[in-house]
């Protein structure tokens, strides 16, 4: 498939990883303040879907995972999240489910159920068919 809309090159990956690290520290502080919803929002924002670099994707996944596991009130979190983040969240949920790790999967399944209720099957479809912007 043709790489439409320029993919970020390897040398920019360092910049992205640096950004992810700053994000990570911000999220840690938010979590300490018992604001898991804010943490997740920060983690999802600026997700680098257009990089081909696996390291960037893994780095961002670690950050998102940290925030996801801290969420206790799923309904509240979904209420606070903008509609445009549903698709990205769904992609991360599937990444979480693919890890096979029991606590991660439990959490992801719980969130998946509520998210599908809100966003519908179309959201799942968009994750499945989008092979260019993967997380």
């Amino acid at each position: 498939m043709a790489g439409a809309g320029g993919f970020v090159e390897a040398d920019n990956a360092e910049a992205i990883i640096a950004r992810i690290e700053t994000k990570s520290s911000k999220i840690e502080s938010l979590l300490k303040q018992y604001k898991p919803v804010e943490a997740l929002k920060t983690a999802l924002e600026g997700s680098p879907p257009k990089t081909l670099d696996e390291r960037c994707k893994s780095a961002n996944w670690i950050v998102v995972h940290r925030a996801l596991m801290a969420i206790k009130d799923i309904e509240g979190m979904l209420n606070a999240l903008d509609v445009e983040y549903y698709d990205i969240l769904m992609k991360y949920l599937y990444r979480g489910l693919s890890t096979g790790d029991r606590p991660t999967c439990d959490q992801c399944l719980k969130i998946h159920e509520k998210l599908t209720d809100r966003a519908g099957l179309g959201c799942i479809l968009r994750c499945l068919t989008d092979t260019i912007n993967t997380v």
Binding site: L109, K110, D117, G122, R126, L128, D130
Partner: protein, 379 residues
Amino acid sequence: MAVVDVHRFAESITCHAWSPDLSMVALCPNNNEVHIYKSSQDQWERLHVLEKHDQIVSGIDWSSKSNRIVTVSHDRNSYVWSLEGGEWVPTLVILRLNRAALCVQWSPKENKFAVGSGAKTVCICYYEQENNWWVSKLIRKRHESSVTSVAWHPNNILLATTSTDGKCRVFSTFIKGVDTKDPKAGSPAESKFGEQILQLDLSYSWAFGVKWSPSGNTLAYVGHSSMIYFVDDVGPSPLAQSVAFRDLPLRDVLFISEKMVIGVGYDSNPMVFAADDTGIWSFIRYIGEKKPESSGASYSSQFSEAFTKFYGQSKATTANEASESSKSREGVHDNCINAIVSLSKAGSPKVMRFSTSGLDGKIAIWDLENMEEELGHQF
């Protein structure tokens, strides 16, 4: 309810088309034949069986002025059928394809028809008087994968195509001797056959079902990722919008007015999209109102069973009572709707009636006569 008539013709219907007076319908019952049914006093009677193709007939179109049927099939052939003395007589059209033909449409003036194929080409066929046969000209370039759908612009020259490479393209199909150059229209650059005017790269997944609005100003097509794309002011600087919606993907669309589109697909229930006064398109509603559920989840029993199993894996999940409250589908179609055909006069700005056919073998006729208020002022 907007449904006027529903009838099950076969196990499954691939495509269908209506006669000029709308009394007869030609359909393919998922095999190599075309059946023509006539409706008389609430009964459907099969009048003709057109048997010439060797494989499934993937596209049928019936021209309204010249009363000819064109059929295309996976056997890489196309036939133009004319009614002579009560019998339909086929004329073979040599398309020069090495893969299946997937879709066909007569041009507005009915002097040409376009065929999309799995050979990544589009065939434009026109009638050559001197040799008394149909000639096919191929647009070979540009498409990177199968062409799933074709649609003619009202000016009889521009053709929009969608393909499984996710892109929608507009080509010029000007043929010397068949088309006349419009003196006041656009630049001569567009008048070269096979010239690509526009390529839209909005979708990441397969694209289907492209249609032009009645004036030819707007294009709509669907992507397999539950998205529908609208392009206003098709030309050098188009205005594209991608609308994501909740449910399963669509397969085909129809403009019922300049600002309103009906989409049909895997949800078996037509969806209405409209553009508001600022030109922003969005999903309005399903055509038949769904019964409001207690929880908001309105999936059929198959889905809820699957979901309960899926969520039951997690020890922490409590049984979700809400999702198993559904009964059998209340809609008209029980399976994917794969075609929507207008029943109004070609070229009219508003479509009041249309028909849908699907994998459940039913054709449903919908009338929007009393729905003007419900649909809103865009209709």
